[in-house]
């Protein structure tokens, strides 16, 4: 295995072009090192951690920009993220363990494109964009189309994620991320549900509701039918019940070691309901009636 430490995005991209499918980018390495140990060793390992200015959180023109090398811990401890993007903050604080959060990067989490990746459903509901660099230039790709399957993304083998661009939701919008796992820490989500709710001016109705479902399909998913059902309405217990059941049908989970598919749908239903109750209350100050 060859090992490289490019000092610029350009150098990194040319290494990726040169080595093609043999090459593997490594950032925090919390996924890559596990794969090297248990799956296979790449022909060339391209460590991007020496590239300056790929880490950091900045606010720019109605967006938060988070560099690909920003660690999950830095996001979790950022006051800016906590204030403006509570749904992302909520996911990051439930991620693995402190040790892993100190090492793992958001870019790695995204490019790994695991359906259970903690930051992925929040980025979907935030309608964020991936800023990708290729040898022929840069482009912005919405996360809606970025994730293509387990481990597959629009970055492909030759692209580099440099940043994520996250439009800051309207003031008054609230978000939560709910994780269901076997143990209390250091565990992959069996189901993850991100809910974001923006109230109307009078705080009487949900002007916008977005729901992201993790670990229940080949990619992280949105639940468009459920969102449509809720949009513009006041959330009542009956409506939330209906929404939970509908969200469960929008998931397409599999059965594996950790859970049956059937159970995953049940959990989607329960967590969707819970997420709606919590965001409704946070956004309107009212309990669901």
């Amino acid at each position: 295995m060859e090992y490289f430490e490019p000092k610029s995005i350009g150098d990194a991209l040319s290494l990726l072009s040169k080595h093609g499918a043999e090459a593997k980018v490594i950032a925090g390495g919390t996924d890559v090192m596990v794969d090297i140990k248990f799956k296979e060793e790449p022909g060339a390992l391209v460590n991007i951690k020496k590239i300056p200015s790929l880490a950091g959180i900045t606010e720019r023109g109605g967006s938060l920009r988070i560099g690909a090398l920003t660690t999950i811990r830095d996001i979790e401890t950022s006051a800016l993220v906590r204030e403006k993007l509570p749904v992302l903050w909520d996911a990051c604080r439930q991620f693995a363990s402190l040790q892993v959060r100190n090492t793992a990067t958001i870019g790695g989490n995204i490019c790994r494109a695991s359906p259970s990746g903690e930051s992925l459903t929040p980025l979907l509901v935030l309608e964020a964009n991936a800023i990708l660099a290729f040898s022929d230039g840069e482009r912005s790709e919405p996360f809606k189309t970025f994730f293509q399957g387990p481990g597959k993304s629009a970055a492909g083998a030759k692209g580099l994620l440099t940043e994520v661009d996250i439009p800051i939701p309207p003031a008054g919008s609230k978000g939560v991320y709910l994780k269901h796992a076997v143990r209390g820490a250091m565990d992959i989500a069996m189901v993850g549900v991100a809910v974001m709710l923006t109230p109307d001016a009078g705080k009487n109705n949900a002007q916008d509701v977005r729901i992201g479902l993790g670990a229940v399909g080949p990619t992280p998913l949105r639940a468009p039918k459920t969102e449509a059902l809720l949009k513009g309405k006041a959330l009542t217990a009956a409506l939330i019940k209906e929404a939970g059941a509908l969200a469960a049908t929008e998931a397409s989970p599999i059965t594996d070691q950790r859970s049956s598919a059937e159970n995953r749908r049940w959990i989607v239903e329960a967590l969707t309901r819970r997420g709606l109750e919590q965001t409704w209350k946070a956004a309107t100050g009212k309990e669901v009636a």
Partner: protein, 739 residues
């Protein structure tokens, strides 16, 4: 009795070495010219080996020796029951069984050579279900079982159920006839791995004098010698087990694993041979706790008096039974519980299947049996409309009773222990919705054993102990040191204990296990220290003309009235050390047992089934506590392992194939899963040995899982009879209940 050192929290002897990295583990031992060996494992659960061709592997770079079943014909090993093939002979019996072994210059070369061994298999009918395997007509896994050494009882016809133990009391049929209410249920438990950090490993070297030098974290070094000697028909004296630190045992490191293979490869290559199992191999072939199916049937009078208690247990031994001390797993019989019933029948079968072999894990048999029994007792109590704690109180054994399996103990503290836990846990306090409390109990007396110990007071002022007991990681050496310090009135830190070496001084020990460490060690250390003191005082009397009865010890000094004399100076004068010796034979049934009672408090999320263990209170009936911090460590560790067994851990096996390969997939609890732990000690003066001790190591683990299961039913009204108690099982049951 008041003591200076005994009974006070004392730092462990091995703290510094472990923290600084100085402790020497087996894989740290390096000998010049060492080869690495790996084994080829069977991908088939039950198959005939039609042909095995090693010729390509023999020519591979770095390869020095290769073994197959043809090289080990007729050799079977095991701890006492000897049914394990060193390498599969003619047929394989589980996925992961060792079929061939290669020793090469490097680990990578050994691994690469494995891929060049060609084996042709022909599948045989396999059986994976323990109950099916026990039936007539099931594929026979060991047709020769009647000829194996160490089989407790022969059978007319060979059977997979190679151990069939039955305890009876009264007449079970008439017991059920007297009952007003009969409750019958089946409980199932999965395999769980011990989860030690250091996998099985060994280094074997045949030295210039043709002695077999072994480094291995086997916790029973004398047993390892015996097993090797028996398997290869060599005198025990030819074998030496060298000192190493163990990287965790939890019961799983009592049996020889790869030592026989490493020995044969060393013999063949003339080089030292090292083998270290990968954790993946631990999961597929590492002898975890047995899985099992247990049917319980209990008859009670309307007022809640138990009259008949029956259990039929099938434990899945997998393909080989020799990885545990005896063929029989006595602990399951604890499913008899701590209760009185005039009529009982408890049958326990250990059954061969084509799954991976079952082994030994902390309190062998009890976590299984106690889960079933203590869950069942709750079901019975609820059926007759009694509070489960009150039902237990009514039926618990009292002084003069024997256990349902016929064991007799004095100073029965069952009710005191239960009372203590109910009070300390707030069992009767009001609860919010979806909060539940569950109680469960267990009992276990300290195991017995034999050992030898030697203690020398040296002219250089040092105090050195040689013991036949292995430090399994529980702190036995710390206790030994406390006792010697107590009896010789010196500072424990000044006493050195040499890590066990089967060549040195003491070569007699029945091994650590069965919570016997403190019982056996405290007797031996006390006797050896008293012997040394007696010899020292006798010498002092002679040399100093002080009347022996008036001499006391104080650190480095002998003291008589106002006069003080350093003892090392006297020894320098006579030019020799003083040696205290003890040979302890204490392997009888303990006259006392130790009860444990626990209350789990859970919160159940009724929308997802998620169970949060909020608090676990554990009460223990103890003897004198030698080292409180060590004692508490055993309690907390045992409870946490119980939490893992209850809620998280299991080794998934599908058609004989283990489906996890690492600790990412095989989950153990971590710090977030540990609830508030509370301990209550119910101390009594009736322990055994010079300090009146009882065991603790295995007592805390077993009641945890049923206490949680019982708490779940208390919280949300569903009963889970299959471990672990996952959110999915709870939620599924809730859906069924609520329609």
């Amino acid at each position: 009795m008041s003591y200076q050192v005994v009974g006070k929290s004392t730092p462990r002897t091995d703290n510094t070495a472990k923290v600084t990295g100085e402790a020497r583990y087996t894989s740290d031992v390096l000998l010049p010219g060492t080869l690495w060996a790996k084994t080829l494992r069977s991908p088939h659960a039950h198959a005939r080996i039609v042909q095995i061709d090693t010729s390509r592997a023999e020519r591979a770079p770095g390869v020095r020796a290769i073994l197959t079943g043809n090289d080990v014909r007729g050799i079977l090993y095991g701890r006492r029951y000897r049914d394990i093939s060193v390498l599969a002979q003619d047929k394989v019996r589980f996925i992961g069984e060792r079929v061939a072994a290669v020793a090469a210059d490097t680990l990578e070369q050994a691994e690469a050579a494995l891929d060049l061994i060609d084996v042709r298999y022909e599948d045989l009918p396999a059986v994976f279900d323990v109950v099916a395997a026990a039936k007539d007509g099931a594929p026979l896994i060991h047709p020769d079982m009647n000829n194996y050494k160490g089989l407790p009882k022969q059978f007319d016809q060979p059977t997979n159920a190679f151990v069939q133990d039955v305890f009876t009391r009264g007449d079970i049929a008439s017991g059920f006839a007297q009952a007003d209410v009969i409750v019958e249920n089946t409980y199932t438990v999965p395999r769980v791995h011990q989860g030690f950090l250091e996998p099985h490993c060994c280094l074997v070297w045949i030295d210039e004098q043709e002695r077999i030098q072994i480094w291995s974290p086997c916790k029973v070094p004398q047993g390892l010698k015996s097993s090797m000697a028996a398997a290869f028909d060599i005198p025990k004296e030819k074998i030496r087990v060298n000192p190493v630190t163990i990287g965790g045992d939890f019961g799983g490191k009592g049996a020889p694993f790869d030592e026989p293979i490493a020995y044969l490869l060393a013999l063949r290559s003339g080089r030292p041979v090292k083998m270290v199992m990968e954790y993946r191999e631990e999961f597929i072939a590492g002898a975890p706790r047995h899985s099992g199916v247990m049917r319980l049937k209990t008859g009670v009078k309307r007022d809640g008096t138990m009259v008949a208690h029956e259990m039929e247990a099938y434990l899945d031994a997998g393909a080989y039974g020799g990885f545990r001390p005896g063929a029989v797993i006595g602990g399951v019989a604890h499913a008899g519980g701590c209760y009185r019933a005039a009529h009982a029948r408890i049958s326990v079968s250990r059954v061969y299947t084509n799954n991976l072999p079952g082994g030994q894990f902390r309190a062998p048999g009890e976590p299984q049996g106690v889960f079933a029994a203590e869950s069942h007792i709750d079901c019975v109590a609820r059926k007759v409309g009694m509070d489960p704690a009150a039902f237990r109180m009514k039926n618990l054994m009292v002084e003069g009773d024997e256990t349902l399996t016929g064991s007799h103990y004095k100073d029965i503290k069952a009710k005191e222990t239960l009372t203590a836990v109910l009070k300390a846990s707030g069992y009767d306090a009001p609860k919010a919705k979806n909060i539940g409390r569950g109680v469960a109990m267990g009992y276990r007396g300290p195991g017995g054993g034999n050992t030898a110990m030697q203690l020398s007071l040296n002219p250089d002022g040092s105090v050195v102990i040689h013991t036949g007991l292995f430090e399994q990681g529980t702190g036995t050496y710390t206790t030994i040191r406390q006792i010697v310090a107590e009896e010789l009135r010196c500072d424990p830190e000044t006493i050195r204990i040499d890590t066990l070496d089967t060549d040195l001084g003491v070569s007699y020990d029945s091994g650590i296990g069965g919570s016997r460490g403190t019982r056996v060690a405290s007797s031996a250390a006390y006797s050896a220290a008293c012997d040394a003191r007696e010899k020292l005082l006798t010498m002092a009397e002679k040399l100093l003309n002080w009347p022996k009865a008036e001499i006391t010890l104080d650190g480095d000094f002998l003291v008589h009235q106002k006069k003080r004399q350093r003892w090392d100076e006297l020894l320098k004068g006579i030019g020799r050390a003083i040696t205290g010796e003890a040979v302890t034979r204490d392997d009888g049934h303990s006259p006392v047992t130790a009860f444990a009672a626990q209350v789990a408090e859970v919160a159940v999320d009724s929308a997802t089934g998620e169970v949060t263990l909020r608090k676990l209170t554990t009460a223990h009936d103890t003897g004198a506590i030698m080292n409180p911090v060590g004692h508490q460590g055993q309690i907390d560790g045992g409870v946490v392992q119980g939490v893992g067994y209850g809620m998280i851990e299991y080794l998934p096996v599908l058609d004989g194939k283990v489906e996890v390969a690492n600790f990412g997939e095989y989950k153990l609890p971590n710090i977030q899963d540990i609830p508030v732990l509370k301990t209550v000690i119910v101390e009594s003066a009736s322990g055994v040995g010079p300090y009146k001790v009882k065991g603790i190591g295995e007592n805390p683990i077993s009641p945890v899982a049923p206490a949680i299961a019982n708490a779940i039913e208390d919280a949300v009204g569903v009963r889970i009879r299959d471990l672990p108690l996952t959110a999915e099982k709870v939620y599924r049951a809730l859906r069924e209940k609520n329609g």
